[in-house]
């Protein structure tokens, strides 16, 4: 076997160095600082696991984990059910297919933050107006100002936004299924639901796995959705983990403490992704 051509090394070494400097070193720095009391400036000293011990006792951080997981799980489930249904609809014998597909993908080309401000207005003024007309006590005031319901507004907006991309991934999956399979099933007298259960779903299981993992990972990092809708409020009711790290780290002088929080978050995300992959992959094999 011949030696690797030198040029190949020249092609990857600069990228490797840059990636190491701008990605790996920050990760290592984050882990390093998490064992110190560094405020982001000035002197610091090692304090062992004190930050980690404090995190588990910190109510604001615990609430942010609860909110983030509640939000991410519900959004992931909703996005995948809705997107799969829309994708199946778009893949059926309908008119205006290209136009409709174009419309459903539209939210994905718009900045989440900016559309979020539009939704903020809808939730603050239009929904309460309609709520009053319909005589609903809950919806006659802005749900963004309601401590118990504000998170659902964020779920609604996140689902609206993320469905766009998921629909396209599912459509890509659906188009890999040969139409002959459905024709054969029709001849055998299978109804729509049976066709979906026994042909469609098993054949796009891989896409389902990817979509579930991707959505959950994106939703656990939620930040852009919250800033325009509630900015973490009312109080701290809708603060996500990312938002707490951002605020504490940059505005609160808790640099080291929040890097420790980020390390915990990282471990949680990896554990969750691996767990999810295992469960979904096992399903795929069975199907």
């Amino acid at each position: 076997m011949q030696r690797t051509n030198r040029t190949f090394y020249w092609m990857v070494v600069p990228a490797f160095v840059l990636f190491f400097v701008f990605h790996t070193i920050p990760v290592l720095q984050g882990v390093f600082y998490s064992f110190t009391d560094y405020a982001g400036y000035g002197d610091w000293s090692f304090i062992g696991f004190e930050n980690y011990a404090n995190i588990f006792a910190d109510e604001r951080i615990r609430d942010s984990y609860l909110f983030t997981f509640q939000f991410a799980l519900l959004s992931t489930v909703l996005v995948n059910i809705i997107a799969l249904a829309i994708a199946v609809g778009l893949n059926a014998r309908i008119k205006f297919r290209t136009t409709l597909r174009g419309i459903f993908f539209l939210p994905n080309v718009m900045a989440i933050l900016v559309v979020g401000y539009i939704f903020n207005y809808l939730f603050s003024y239009t929904v309460p107006y309609l709520g009053q007309k319909l005589g609903s006590a809950t919806f006659s005031t802005s749900i963004l100002a309601n401590e118990d319901l504000a998170w659902l507004a964020i779920v609604l907006f996140a689902v609206w936004n993320a469905t766009a991309f998921a629909v396209i991934l599912y459509l890509a999956g659906l188009q890999t299924i040969p139409t002959e399979l459905y024709e054969a099933a029709s001849i055998d007298g299978a109804g729509s639901w049976r066709k979906f259960r026994q042909i469609t779903f098993p054949l796009i299981a891989a896409f389902f796995t990817i979509n579930m993992v991707l959505s959950l990972k994106n939703f656990l990092n939620v930040f852009d959705h919250i800033i325009p809708l509630t900015n973490g409020g009312p109080g701290t009711a809708t603060e996500s983990i990312s938002l707490v790290i951002y605020r504490g780290g940059f505005q609160g002088g808790d640099f080291a403490y929040q890097t420790a929080n980020a390390v915990v978050f990282f471990i949680v995300i990896v554990a969750f992704s691996l767990f999810q992959l295992r469960i979904l992959m096992r399903r795929e094999v069975q199907a």
């Binding site: 092609m11 080309v109 790290i245």
Partner: protein, 281 residues
């Protein structure tokens, strides 16, 4: 193939009930946008009620005022510069890295490098956010150029994965022929492989473009000077000034969304097929 298409068209019966249902569902996407457009054209007095009514007399001046207030041309130029820079550099560098990796996957170092890049997909941004901000300001990278740089470097994780998948499906005979005729690895890549990558370059280009243009968190933490702010960031910064004047704010939001929406309307089929290709690979 043609015969098959014809046969299919004959049995193609449009399901009108489903078409109607899908049209109604598409309103969930369109209604908020309709709402944004009519609000941006109203006077503040017209805002009461459900907000869905048309303005009596469209007030185009909202756009002119928002244009001046947010210094729209500067923010749009920053966004365009960062997006174009990130897309061009990503296509040129990330494809090259992926090529070297895919053609040497049998070697341990390259295989490790592949997994090294791809494993970064699992690292959430908050963990590197705080150190990166210190690093970029130390290296004088807290500006548009620094941001381009970060998009290109962080893009490696996903792009190497997408490119390698595609490169593995390109037969090696072409490059082997070129190399036996004396072409170097460098020329072979740029003259033969890079042009073959056109479809997947489109995919990577679209994803990078949407990411860099719409991103909020990275510009928020990295950019230090107000003159470097991107379009989404400007909407955030100006919330204070907008707080009482919703019509102006909505005009500003629409202008921030418009460039990418217009590009999308023109290139819709191309964008969607590009994204689909990325997901099948």
């Amino acid at each position: 193939m043609a015969v098959f298409g014809l046969a299919r068209r004959e049995t193609f019966k449009v399901n009108w009930w489903l078409t109607a249902l899908m049209c109604v569902l598409s309103l969930t996407v369109l209604i908020p946008l309709y709402f944004a457009v009519v609000t941006a054209l109203k006077t503040p007095d017209e805002l009461s009620g459900s907000g869905f009514g048309l303005p009596a007399d469209p007030r185009w001046a909202n756009f002119a005022e928002a244009w001046d207030l947010t210094n729209f041309p500067r923010a749009a130029l920053n966004s365009a510069l960062i997006t174009v820079g990130a897309v061009v550099l990503t296509l040129v560098t990330n494809s090259m890295v992926a090529y070297a990796i895919s053609r040497n996957m049998h070697r341990r170092r390259f295989k490790i490098l592949f997994f090294y890049f791809v494993s970064a997909l699992f690292v959430p941004f908050p963990i590197i956010m705080l150190p990166v901000v210190k690093q970029t300001s130390l290296l004088f990278m807290d500006n548009q150029v620094g941001l381009i740089f970060l998009y290109v470097v962080y893009g490696l994780a996903l792009n190497v994965f997408i490119y390698v998948g595609y490169l593995n499906s390109i037969p090696r005979e072409l490059e082997e022929a070129a190399m036996t005729e004396g072409a170097s690895v460098w020329t072979t890549f740029w003259r033969i492989i890079f042009p073959l990558l056109a479809p997947i370059n489109a995919t990577v280009g679209i994803l990078t473009c949407l990411w860099a243009w719409n991103d909020f968190l990275l510009p928020l933490v990295v950019l230090s000077s107000p003159s470097a702010q991107t379009l989404p960031l400007v909407q955030y910064v100006f919330q204070g000034q907008f707080s009482t004047n919703y019509t102006l704010a909505f005009a500003s939001y629409l202008m921030a969304l418009a460039p990418m929406v217009l590009v999308y309307l023109v290139a819709q089929r191309w964008v969607i097929s590009g994204v689909m290709r990325g997901s099948v690979k």
